[in-house]
């Protein structure tokens, strides 16, 4: 029995559609559980390597754990629980958000946008003044 790789387990749970909230929390709980098992084995006199191996065996295989989690629909992401609805809702949500994106982006980069607007205004004013001078020179000249 190999020592469990909890990062791989988290990735596998997410790939199987488990919601990130449940996936990460379960992995953290399982990691703590494993540490408790190792501590208990060490307290019983096992050396570090034996304790880890024993703890991994008691915890069980990652395949079984992924299967247990995946069999529970209520722990899955919304889109995995209602795939047909997701197929309809996601494109509509994207279409609704798309026109609003420039506004959101503008707000997020408002400082740069203000600078850009001020530069454009200044350039416009300079051009207008130059055109006015040229116009006046034609009229008065």
């Amino acid at each position: 029995m190999r020592e469990p790789d909890f990062n791989v387990l988290a990735t596998r749970l997410l790939k199987n559609g488990i919601s990130p909230r449940h996936a990460h929390r379960t992995v953290n709980e399982l990691r703590d559980h494993y540490d408790d098992l190792v501590d208990a084995a060490v307290d019983e006199g096992a050396n570090s390597k034996t304790a880890r191996l024993r703890a991994a065996k008691e915890l069980g295989t990652m395949d079984e754990f992924v299967a247990q989690m995946s069999s529970r629909r209520e722990l899955k992401m919304w889109a995995r629980r209602y795939p047909r609805l997701a197929v309809i809702v996601y494109p509509i949500a994207c279409l609704a958000i798309l026109p609003a994106m420039p506004v959101f982006l503008g707000f997020a980069h408002r400082t740069a946008l203000m600078r850009w607007s001020a530069s454009l205004l200044a350039a416009g004013l300079v051009t207008a003044v130059l055109l006015l001078i040229m116009q006046l020179s034609i009229i008065l000249g």
Partner: protein, 112 residues
């Protein structure tokens, strides 16, 4: 997880977890130890099996959880809610009914 229990044990972990959490709030490792102790190791759950059950019970409102830091380790403690107590009562009644039925059937078979 460890394949220590036959398929007809389906639903038993839920009943045991609710029963133990009815007494006091506990975290995962503590719950597994309590189940082993309470059942005199007749029921030895795969250690990781309880987490999907706990999360499902929390999801349907039977349990609530809170984080506590104990000896530098973050523990998620689970406690029973009102809905959980109702569910425990229902499962307990279901279990007694099934247990009675199976005992009667076994008795009848033995006597036959």
């Amino acid at each position: 997880m460890a394949q220590s229990n036959p398929p007809f044990m389906s639903g038993v972990p839920e009943l045991l977890l609710l029963r133990l959490l009815n007494e006091k709030e506990m975290y995962g490792y503590e719950l597994v130890r309590s189940i082993k102790q309470a059942t005199q190791e007749a029921i030895s759950l795969g250690e990781g099996v309880i987490y999907p059950v706990l999360h499902s019970l929390e999801r349907n409102g039977s349990l609530k959880s809170k984080r506590k830091t104990v000896s530098g380790r973050t523990r998620v403690y689970y406690a029973l809610t009102k809905k959980g107590r109702d569910r425990l009562e229902k499962l307990r009644n279901d279990w007694s009914r099934i247990q009675g039925g199976v005992a009667t059937a076994l008795g009848a078979t033995t006597n036959a």
